[in-house]
Amino acid sequence: MKVSELAQKTGLAAINEYKDREIERVYISDMVSDLIASARTNSVVVTLQTHKSLIAAANLAGAAMIVIVNGRKPSEDVVALANRTGIGLFSYDLDSWAFAKKLVNLGFE
Protein backbone atom coordinates (compact mmCIF):
# COMPACT_ATOMS: atom_id res chain seq x y z
CA MET A 1 0.00 0.00 0.00
CA LYS A 2 1.30 3.45 -0.92
CA VAL A 3 1.76 6.23 1.63
CA SER A 4 -0.98 8.30 -0.02
CA GLU A 5 -3.43 5.40 0.07
CA LEU A 6 -2.74 4.66 3.72
CA ALA A 7 -3.17 8.35 4.56
CA GLN A 8 -6.45 8.53 2.70
CA LYS A 9 -7.82 5.34 4.29
CA THR A 10 -6.92 6.50 7.81
CA GLY A 11 -8.04 10.09 7.27
CA LEU A 12 -4.64 11.74 7.65
CA ALA A 13 -3.52 14.96 5.97
CA ALA A 14 0.15 15.29 5.06
CA ILE A 15 2.26 17.88 6.86
CA ASN A 16 5.04 17.86 4.24
CA GLU A 17 5.88 17.08 0.64
CA TYR A 18 6.78 13.41 0.46
CA LYS A 19 7.74 10.65 -1.93
CA ASP A 20 4.81 8.26 -2.41
CA ARG A 21 6.56 5.00 -1.55
CA GLU A 22 5.20 1.54 -0.91
CA ILE A 23 4.69 0.67 2.77
CA GLU A 24 5.45 -2.90 3.73
CA ARG A 25 5.45 -2.95 7.51
CA VAL A 26 4.75 -1.12 10.76
CA TYR A 27 7.13 -0.05 13.49
CA ILE A 28 5.80 1.47 16.71
CA SER A 29 8.30 3.08 19.11
CA ASP A 30 8.76 6.19 21.18
CA MET A 31 12.53 5.71 21.13
CA VAL A 32 14.28 7.43 18.27
CA SER A 33 17.66 5.70 18.72
CA ASP A 34 15.88 2.35 18.60
CA LEU A 35 14.79 3.00 15.01
CA ILE A 36 18.29 2.58 13.56
CA ALA A 37 18.79 -0.86 15.05
CA SER A 38 15.23 -2.18 14.81
CA ALA A 39 13.09 -0.55 12.10
CA ARG A 40 13.27 -2.08 8.64
CA THR A 41 13.00 -0.24 5.32
CA ASN A 42 9.62 0.81 3.89
CA SER A 43 8.02 1.06 7.33
CA VAL A 44 5.36 3.33 8.65
CA VAL A 45 6.76 4.54 11.98
CA VAL A 46 4.17 5.36 14.64
CA THR A 47 5.58 7.50 17.44
CA LEU A 48 5.09 10.19 20.08
CA GLN A 49 8.37 11.89 19.20
CA THR A 50 8.52 15.14 17.24
CA HIS A 51 12.21 16.04 17.59
CA LYS A 52 14.43 16.48 14.54
CA SER A 53 16.40 13.38 15.61
CA LEU A 54 13.28 11.37 14.71
CA ILE A 55 13.74 12.29 11.03
CA ALA A 56 17.52 11.78 11.20
CA ALA A 57 16.95 8.25 12.54
CA ALA A 58 13.99 7.38 10.30
CA ASN A 59 16.09 8.33 7.27
CA LEU A 60 18.81 5.86 8.32
CA ALA A 61 16.13 3.23 8.84
CA GLY A 62 14.73 3.78 5.34
CA ALA A 63 11.27 4.59 6.69
CA ALA A 64 8.60 5.66 4.17
CA MET A 65 6.12 7.34 6.51
CA ILE A 66 5.94 8.74 10.05
CA VAL A 67 2.71 9.14 11.99
CA ILE A 68 3.05 11.31 15.08
CA VAL A 69 0.27 10.44 17.51
CA ASN A 70 -1.61 12.27 20.29
CA GLY A 71 -2.15 15.28 18.04
CA ARG A 72 1.43 16.44 18.45
CA LYS A 73 2.82 18.64 15.69
CA PRO A 74 6.45 18.88 14.57
CA SER A 75 8.19 22.25 14.28
CA GLU A 76 9.11 23.85 10.96
CA ASP A 77 12.74 22.70 10.92
CA VAL A 78 11.54 19.11 11.43
CA VAL A 79 9.14 19.44 8.48
CA ALA A 80 11.93 20.91 6.33
CA LEU A 81 14.19 17.95 7.11
CA ALA A 82 11.37 15.50 6.36
CA ASN A 83 10.98 17.19 2.95
CA ARG A 84 14.66 16.54 2.26
CA THR A 85 14.31 12.85 3.06
CA GLY A 86 11.03 12.36 1.20
CA ILE A 87 9.51 10.65 4.25
CA GLY A 88 5.78 11.35 4.58
CA LEU A 89 5.04 13.15 7.85
CA PHE A 90 1.57 12.99 9.39
CA SER A 91 -0.10 13.84 12.67
CA TYR A 92 -2.89 11.77 14.24
CA ASP A 93 -5.17 13.02 17.03
CA LEU A 94 -5.52 9.82 19.06
CA ASP A 95 -2.91 7.49 20.60
CA SER A 96 -0.66 4.78 19.08
CA TRP A 97 -3.08 2.00 19.93
CA ALA A 98 -5.97 3.71 18.09
CA PHE A 99 -3.78 4.09 15.02
CA ALA A 100 -2.47 0.54 15.32
CA LYS A 101 -6.05 -0.75 15.24
CA LYS A 102 -6.62 1.11 11.97
CA LEU A 103 -3.47 -0.49 10.52
CA VAL A 104 -4.63 -3.96 11.57
CA ASN A 105 -7.99 -3.30 9.92
CA LEU A 106 -6.17 -2.38 6.73
CA GLY A 107 -4.46 -5.76 6.75
CA PHE A 108 -1.07 -4.95 8.34
CA GLU A 109 0.14 -7.67 10.67
Binding site: S33, D34, I36, T41, Q49, A56, N59, R84
Partner: protein
Amino acid sequence: MIASVAVRGERILENVEGGAMGPCNHEWSICNVRHGYFVEEGCFECGARLSFFSAEPVPPIDKYREGRHYWAYLGSFQTVKFDLKCRACAGIVDLNDVNGLMLSECTDRDCQVGALVHQQGPDSLVYVALCPNTSHPTGKCVSSEGIEALNQYFRAKLAPVGRKVTIVPCKLCNSIDKCRGTSIVDVGLTDIQ
Protein backbone atom coordinates in the same frame (compact mmCIF):
# COMPACT_ATOMS: atom_id res chain seq x y z
CA MET B 1 45.52 -8.30 4.75
CA ILE B 2 42.83 -9.72 6.97
CA ALA B 3 43.92 -10.02 10.54
CA SER B 4 41.42 -11.77 12.68
CA VAL B 5 41.22 -12.87 16.25
CA ALA B 6 38.78 -15.30 17.78
CA VAL B 7 36.55 -13.71 20.37
CA ARG B 8 33.58 -15.63 21.75
CA GLY B 9 33.87 -18.00 18.79
CA GLU B 10 33.42 -15.22 16.25
CA ARG B 11 35.98 -13.54 14.10
CA ILE B 12 36.62 -9.86 14.65
CA LEU B 13 37.85 -8.29 11.44
CA GLU B 14 40.72 -5.94 12.08
CA ASN B 15 40.90 -4.97 8.46
CA VAL B 16 38.05 -5.53 6.05
CA GLU B 17 39.80 -4.35 2.91
CA GLY B 18 40.30 -7.89 1.64
CA GLY B 19 43.70 -9.49 1.09
CA ALA B 20 45.21 -12.94 1.35
CA MET B 21 41.81 -14.61 1.86
CA GLY B 22 40.24 -12.68 -1.01
CA PRO B 23 37.79 -9.84 -0.67
CA CYS B 24 34.30 -10.50 0.62
CA ASN B 25 31.38 -8.47 -0.67
CA HIS B 26 30.23 -7.96 2.88
CA GLU B 27 26.53 -8.20 3.58
CA TRP B 28 26.32 -6.39 6.87
CA SER B 29 23.53 -6.71 9.38
CA ILE B 30 23.18 -5.18 12.81
CA CYS B 31 24.12 -7.35 15.79
CA ASN B 32 24.95 -7.02 19.51
CA VAL B 33 22.37 -4.28 20.13
CA ARG B 34 22.96 -2.63 23.53
CA HIS B 35 20.59 -0.12 25.14
CA GLY B 36 22.05 2.43 27.50
CA TYR B 37 22.93 6.05 28.10
CA PHE B 38 25.16 8.40 26.19
CA VAL B 39 26.70 10.45 29.03
CA GLU B 40 28.46 13.74 28.39
CA GLU B 41 30.98 15.28 30.77
CA GLY B 42 32.87 18.54 30.58
CA CYS B 43 36.01 19.80 32.32
CA PHE B 44 35.43 22.94 34.43
CA GLU B 45 39.02 23.98 34.05
CA CYS B 46 39.87 23.62 30.36
CA GLY B 47 36.49 23.19 28.67
CA ALA B 48 37.35 19.75 27.20
CA ARG B 49 34.45 17.38 26.67
CA LEU B 50 34.15 13.65 26.71
CA SER B 51 31.33 11.23 26.36
CA PHE B 52 30.89 7.60 27.18
CA PHE B 53 28.30 4.88 26.94
CA SER B 54 26.81 3.47 30.11
CA ALA B 55 24.66 0.35 30.19
CA GLU B 56 23.68 1.00 33.84
CA PRO B 57 19.91 1.34 34.49
CA VAL B 58 20.45 4.98 35.52
CA PRO B 59 23.16 7.26 34.09
CA PRO B 60 26.11 7.90 36.47
CA ILE B 61 26.23 11.53 37.66
CA ASP B 62 29.75 12.16 38.98
CA LYS B 63 32.22 14.94 39.61
CA TYR B 64 35.82 13.77 39.71
CA ARG B 65 39.39 14.92 39.24
CA GLU B 66 41.56 13.15 36.68
CA GLY B 67 45.05 14.58 36.23
CA ARG B 68 44.61 18.24 35.35
CA HIS B 69 40.94 17.81 34.45
CA TYR B 70 37.94 18.25 36.73
CA TRP B 71 35.08 16.42 35.04
CA ALA B 72 31.45 17.22 35.71
CA TYR B 73 28.29 15.68 34.33
CA LEU B 74 26.67 17.71 31.54
CA GLY B 75 23.80 15.52 30.48
CA SER B 76 22.72 12.13 29.27
CA PHE B 77 20.45 10.68 26.64
CA GLN B 78 19.12 7.22 26.02
CA THR B 79 20.75 5.58 23.05
CA VAL B 80 21.48 2.28 21.35
CA LYS B 81 24.83 0.80 20.38
CA PHE B 82 25.40 -2.01 17.93
CA ASP B 83 28.04 -3.87 15.91
CA LEU B 84 27.92 -5.11 12.32
CA LYS B 85 28.16 -8.74 11.27
CA CYS B 86 28.68 -10.01 7.73
CA ARG B 87 26.28 -12.72 6.59
CA ALA B 88 28.74 -13.92 3.96
CA CYS B 89 32.03 -14.25 5.89
CA ALA B 90 30.68 -14.08 9.50
CA GLY B 91 33.17 -11.30 10.27
CA ILE B 92 32.19 -8.79 12.93
CA VAL B 93 33.13 -5.13 13.01
CA ASP B 94 33.24 -3.87 16.57
CA LEU B 95 31.59 -0.45 16.77
CA ASN B 96 32.22 0.09 20.45
CA ASP B 97 34.13 3.24 19.53
CA VAL B 98 30.97 4.76 18.02
CA ASN B 99 29.07 6.63 20.71
CA GLY B 100 26.41 7.88 18.38
CA LEU B 101 25.52 9.22 14.96
CA MET B 102 24.83 12.86 14.22
CA LEU B 103 23.13 14.16 11.10
CA SER B 104 25.44 16.97 9.97
CA GLU B 105 24.01 20.41 9.32
CA CYS B 106 27.41 22.04 9.07
CA THR B 107 27.47 25.08 6.79
CA ASP B 108 31.15 25.92 7.28
CA ARG B 109 32.83 25.20 3.96
CA ASP B 110 36.25 25.43 5.60
CA CYS B 111 35.25 22.37 7.61
CA GLN B 112 35.72 19.08 5.72
CA VAL B 113 32.32 17.88 6.91
CA GLY B 114 30.68 21.16 5.87
CA ALA B 115 32.29 20.91 2.42
CA LEU B 116 30.97 17.36 2.07
CA VAL B 117 27.46 18.42 3.17
CA HIS B 118 27.57 21.15 0.55
CA GLN B 119 28.44 18.63 -2.21
CA GLN B 120 25.52 16.29 -1.52
CA GLY B 121 22.67 15.80 -3.97
CA PRO B 122 19.03 16.14 -2.87
CA ASP B 123 18.73 12.43 -2.03
CA SER B 124 21.83 12.32 0.15
CA LEU B 125 22.71 13.26 3.74
CA VAL B 126 25.96 13.20 5.75
CA TYR B 127 26.16 11.69 9.23
CA VAL B 128 29.05 12.06 11.66
CA ALA B 129 30.05 9.02 13.74
CA LEU B 130 30.93 10.36 17.20
CA CYS B 131 33.83 8.78 19.06
CA PRO B 132 34.12 8.82 22.87
CA ASN B 133 36.62 11.66 23.01
CA THR B 134 35.60 14.31 20.53
CA SER B 135 38.47 16.62 21.46
CA HIS B 136 40.87 13.93 20.08
CA PRO B 137 43.88 14.47 22.36
CA THR B 138 45.56 11.32 20.99
CA GLY B 139 44.25 11.71 17.42
CA LYS B 140 42.23 8.52 17.85
CA CYS B 141 38.69 8.50 16.47
CA VAL B 142 36.28 5.86 15.15
CA SER B 143 38.27 3.13 13.31
CA SER B 144 38.45 3.29 9.52
CA GLU B 145 37.09 -0.29 9.42
CA GLY B 146 34.07 0.85 11.40
CA ILE B 147 33.46 3.84 9.12
CA GLU B 148 33.80 1.67 6.02
CA ALA B 149 31.42 -0.99 7.33
CA LEU B 150 28.85 1.63 8.41
CA ASN B 151 28.93 3.16 4.93
CA GLN B 152 28.56 -0.25 3.29
CA TYR B 153 25.71 -1.23 5.62
CA PHE B 154 23.63 1.93 5.17
CA ARG B 155 24.28 2.19 1.43
CA ALA B 156 23.17 -1.39 0.81
CA LYS B 157 20.12 -0.88 3.02
CA LEU B 158 19.04 2.45 1.52
CA ALA B 159 19.89 2.05 -2.17
CA PRO B 160 16.67 0.10 -2.90
CA VAL B 161 14.60 2.98 -1.46
CA GLY B 162 16.50 5.62 -3.42
CA ARG B 163 18.31 7.20 -0.46
CA LYS B 164 22.01 7.73 0.14
CA VAL B 165 24.03 8.50 3.25
CA THR B 166 27.70 9.12 3.89
CA ILE B 167 29.16 8.42 7.33
CA VAL B 168 32.33 10.25 8.38
CA PRO B 169 34.41 10.08 11.58
CA CYS B 170 34.08 13.05 13.94
CA LYS B 171 37.77 13.91 13.69
CA LEU B 172 36.93 15.29 10.22
CA CYS B 173 35.06 18.14 11.94
CA ASN B 174 36.90 21.40 12.48
CA SER B 175 35.47 21.47 15.95
CA ILE B 176 32.73 19.11 16.98
CA ASP B 177 31.24 21.74 19.30
CA LYS B 178 30.88 24.19 16.43
CA CYS B 179 29.96 21.64 13.75
CA ARG B 180 26.16 21.82 13.79
CA GLY B 181 24.01 18.75 13.63
CA THR B 182 21.26 16.60 15.10
CA SER B 183 22.42 13.70 17.26
CA ILE B 184 20.32 10.57 17.21
CA VAL B 185 19.61 10.23 20.91
CA ASP B 186 16.49 10.10 23.04
CA VAL B 187 15.80 12.88 25.44
CA GLY B 188 14.05 11.83 28.63
CA LEU B 189 10.29 11.49 28.32
CA THR B 190 9.91 14.43 30.72
CA ASP B 191 11.83 16.59 28.22
CA ILE B 192 9.48 15.79 25.35
CA GLN B 193 7.81 18.93 24.14
